[in-house]
C-alpha cells in the first residue's frame, strides 16, 4: 500500500526482557492501544517509524500527480474540488509525520531520508497523469485502494497512528467519490471522452492493484505485523476486497478493467483476476518507474525553494521574542 516497501526485515536488536515482551503482547491481545511513552520492542518501534513515515511521504509526493492538473481542470467546480483534495493530502502528510515523531524520529530526519532517496513512498505516484481522465482514475482507484488499506489501520495497535488514520479516513471519503464522479462523466460523454476514460482505467488498473504490495507468499513479515496488530489483513486479502468492490463500479459506467482473465467466481463469491506483473512493480520500487526521477526532483526543488521562507519565519519569530523580552525588562 502506501507502505508497500515494508518487506525488508527490521533488525532485531538483541534480546529484550521476556516479561516486558509478554506484557506488551498481552496488552495488544486485549485490544489496548500502545501509547508513545509505553514500553515497546525496538522492532515494533522501527517497523512503525518506517511504515508511518513511508505513508506520510506518500501523501506528500502524492500531491504532485494531481497538482499537475490544478491549473488545467476543465471547470471552476472541478478545480475547487481538486484543490481541496490536494490540500487534504498535505494535511494527511502532516498528521502522519506527527504520529511518527512520537516514536522518537524528528521531522527533519524523515524529510532528509526522503530527499536523499533513503525512504520510500508508494509506487503508484511514479506514474504520470497525462489526461484529465487520469485525475478521475486517481481519485476512484488510487484513493479507493488507499481507503481499503486505511480503514483497518484505524484499529492499529499504536494509538497515535490509529488516531491519525481516523481523521484521515473521515477526510478521504470525498476523494474517491469525486474521482468516480469525474470519470463517470467522461464515460457518459462523447465517444472521444469515453475512450479517454477507458484509456485511464487501462493505465491505472494494474498499478492500483500493485499498491497493496507483494503477494502474501513474498511478504515474510506479515505474520509479525498481524500479531502486533499493525496490520489486520494481508496484502492479498485487501487486494481481493478492492477488486471485488471496483469491478462492478467500472461496469456500471460502461468501462472494463484491462484483464482478460477477469471473471466472477460463483463458488467463492470473489472476482478472479490475472497475474500481476511483479517485474514492473519491482522496477518502479527500485526507482525506474516512469516518473521516479521527476517526482524526487520536484520534491527537492520545492524543499530548496522554501528554504528562505523557513529562514525568514525563524528570524521573524526570534525578533518578536527579543522585542517582547526587552519590553518586559523595561517595565
Amino acid at each position: 500500500m502506501y507502505t508497500q516497501g515494508l518487506n525488508q526485515a527490521v533488525e532485531d536488536s538483541g534480546p529484550e526482557d521476556a516479561e516486558l515482551l509478554a506484557r506488551f503482547q498481552a496488552k495488544i491481545d486485549r485490544e489496548e492501544k500502545i501509547e508513545p511513552n509505553d514500553w515497546m520492542p525496538e522492532a515494533y518501534r522501527q517497523t512503525l517509524i518506517r511504515q508511518i513515515s513511508q505513508h506520510a511521504h506518500s501523501e506528500i509526493v502524492g500531491m504532485l500527480p494531481e497538482g499537475n492538473w490544478l491549473t488545467r481542470a476543465p471547470s471552476l467546480r472541478r478545480k475547487a474540488i481538486l484543490l481541496a483534495k490536494v490540500q487534504d493530502e498535505g494535511g494527511h502528510g502532516l498528521y502522519l509525520y506527527a504520529a511518527a515523531e512520537t516514536l522518537g524520529i524528528s521531522r527533519a530526519e524523515m524529510v532528509d531520508r526522503l530527499l536523499e532517496g533513503r525512504a520510500r513512498y508508494s509506487s503508484i505516484f511514479n506514474y504520470p497523469t497525462i489526461t484529465w481522465a487520469d485525475i478521475g482514475a486517481v481519485g476512484w482507484l488510487v484513493d479507493g485502494a488507499a481507503i481499503m488499506n486505511q480503514i483497518p489501520l484505524c484499529r492499529c495497535s499504536y494509538g497515535p497512528y490509529a488516531r491519525a488514520m481516523i481523521r484521515i479516513c473521515k477526510e478521504e471519503s470525498f476523494h474517491q467519490r469525486q474521482g468516480y464522479e469525474a470519470i463517470s462523466r467522461l464515460a457518459k460523454g462523447t465517444a472521444a471522452q469515453k475512450r479517454m476514460a477507458q484509456d485511464a482505467l487501462d493505465r491505472w488498473w494494474w498499478p492500483s492493484l500493485m499498491m497493496f504490495g507483494p503477494s502474501d507468499a513474498d511478504s515474510p513479515h506479515t505474520g509479525r505485523s498481524m500479531r502486533w496488530k499493525i496490520k489486520r489483513f494481508t496484502n492479498d486479502e485487501l487486494r481481493q476486497k478492492f477488486v471485488d468492490a471496483t469491478v462492478p463500479q467500472a461496469r456500471l459506467i460502461g468501462l472494463e478493467p484491462p484483464d482478460p482473465e477477469l471473471r466472477y467466481d460463483e463458488e467463492s463469491g470473489h472476482w478472479h483476476f490475472g497475474e500481476i506483473d511483479w517485474t514492473e512493480f519491482n522496477e518502479v520500487l527500485a526507482g525506474n518507474g516512469p516518473c521516479n526521477r521527476e517526482r524526487m526532483a520536484a520534491r527537492r526543488k520545492a524543499h530548496a525553494d522554501g528554504a528562505w521562507v523557513r529562514e525568514a519565519a525563524t528570524a521573524h519569530a526570534r525578533k518578536k521574542q527579543s522585542r517582547m523580552a526587552m519590553a518586559a525588562a523595561a517595565e
Binding site: N37, Y95, A98, E109
Partner: protein, 103 residues
C-alpha cells in the same frame, strides 16, 4: 512531558505545538493533534488551515509541547488504582427502597 515528550527536541525543526480545538460554544477544547511552527502566531494560523477545514472548530488553543507535563505510564497503578476500590463514591453503591422518588 507530552505525547511527543522530550523526543521532539531537535535543532532543525521548529518547535512543536499541541493543538486544542473547541468544536462548538459550550464544549471543552479538545486535543486534536500537533504541528511545528516558528512561533505561536504561526502555530495558530497553521492549526486553522490543518484542523478546521470542515467547520470542526470555533476556537483554537496552541500550547508548546515541551510545556506539558504528563504522568508516567509506569505510575499508572499507584496513581489510579486507589480510585477503583472506592465504589461508595458512586451513586449506584447505595441501597434505597424501591419506591423512593426524586433521588
Amino acid at each position: 512531558m507530552s505525547e511527543h515528550g522530550e523526543r521532539s527536541g531537535n535543532e532543525r525543526d521548529w518547535p512543536l505545538f499541541e493543538v486544542f480545538i473547541r468544536a462548538r460554544t459550550g464544549l471543552h477544547h479538545r486535543h486534536c493533534g500537533s504541528l511545528h511552527a516558528a512561533d505561536p502566531e504561526m502555530a495558530l494560523a497553521r492549526a486553522r488551515d490543518v484542523y478546521t477545514r470542515r467547520g470542526e472548530g470555533t476556537s483554537i488553543w496552541v500550547v508548546p509541547s515541551d510545556r506539558i507535563h504528563a504522568s508516567d505510564p509506569a505510575d499508572k497503578d499507584m496513581l489510579f488504582e486507589p480510585a477503583m476500590s472506592k465504589i461508595y463514591r458512586h451513586p449506584s453503591f447505595y441501597d434505597l427502597p424501591d419506591d423512593v422518588e426524586n433521588m
